[in-house]
Amino acid sequence: MLDNLDRRILRNLQSDPAQSIPDLGDRLGVSNSRLTRRLDKLRETGVLRGQQAVINWRALGYAVEVSLRVTLDKTQTRAFDDFIEAARGIPEVIEIQTFLGRVDVRLSVIARDMAHYQQIYRAGILTLPHIADIEALMHVARIKSDEGLPL
């Protein structure tokens, strides 16, 4: 199980994943070798899986982001599989989530502008199989996005 030091290590890494081991060690008052051993153990046990770069799609010219909340026709037994498989084929879909609730699947779609979005929506999204209903939420601003866990 995790002890207090493990939690402090993960909490600090969460807030600044790019920091070096010596910097992190200084901040926590732990020697580099002890810190390295702890990090190795967190990786071995699969708690710490790695780090990923986060892309700012706006900086790449994708100014529009839309969250599409999809309800599927559940009388079709393969509705989820078929829908998700086909959604993976649309390059502008950057996230696919499935839910228990009023929404079945949510797609995050990015586009360069509204004209581009309309084109993706008509030619791509509306041709996906087994859709019963779609609602769109247009993204205005990201207020908090660290996705950190309250460790």
Partner: protein, 152 residues
């Protein structure tokens, strides 16, 4: 910065899978020198295309078994300050992301909790007591998949 060439795209794609890859290792994969690769990564960071890094933790192993997305509509009665709402909601530790959206909801929250009982506690004690909260819709996350997007 819209002028990404093929190498930039491949670099970005590789870094979104593993941000710890060294410029040397990436360069070898792409057939670029270490310094040339480093310069490209630096340019992607400086121009803001790479916004930062995300630590990939196994939520369940850390005891966070439930993720719920909340759609929140602010009450229209008694003018609510968006700033007050945003400040208060961002301060809740279990709230991982807050997005301001247009449509049938005003805000979309990602909430993490140990289990459904823990989620209910967060919802009742922290979310429902926020200033100006009206309608709330909850959907429990079953699976999620990040896609490479137009890079892939």
């Amino acid at each position: 910065m819209n002028d990404l060439d093929e190498f930039d795209q491949k670099l970005l794609l590789a870094l979104t899978q593993d941000a710890n890859l060294s410029a040397g290792a990436l360069g070898r994969q792409l057939g670029l020198s270490q310094p040339a690769t480093w310069r490209r990564i630096k340019r992607l960071q400086d121009s803001g295309v790479i916004a930062g890094r995300r630590l990939d933790l196994d939520r369940e192993k850390l005891g966070f078994g439930v993720t719920v997305f909340l759609g929140i509509k602010l009450a229209t009665r008694g003018r609510v300050s968006l700033d007050d709402f945003e400040r208060a909601v961002s301060a809740i530790p279990e709230v991982q992301t807050v997005e301001h959206v247009l449509g049938m909801y005003d805000y979309r929250l990602r909430v993490t909790a140990r289990d459904i009982a823990d989620f209910e506690r967060v919802l009742r004690r922290r979310v429902m007591t926020l200033p100006g909260v009206g309608d709330v819709e909850a959907n429990v996350l079953l699976s999620e998949e990040r896609r490479p997007g137009p890079l892939g």
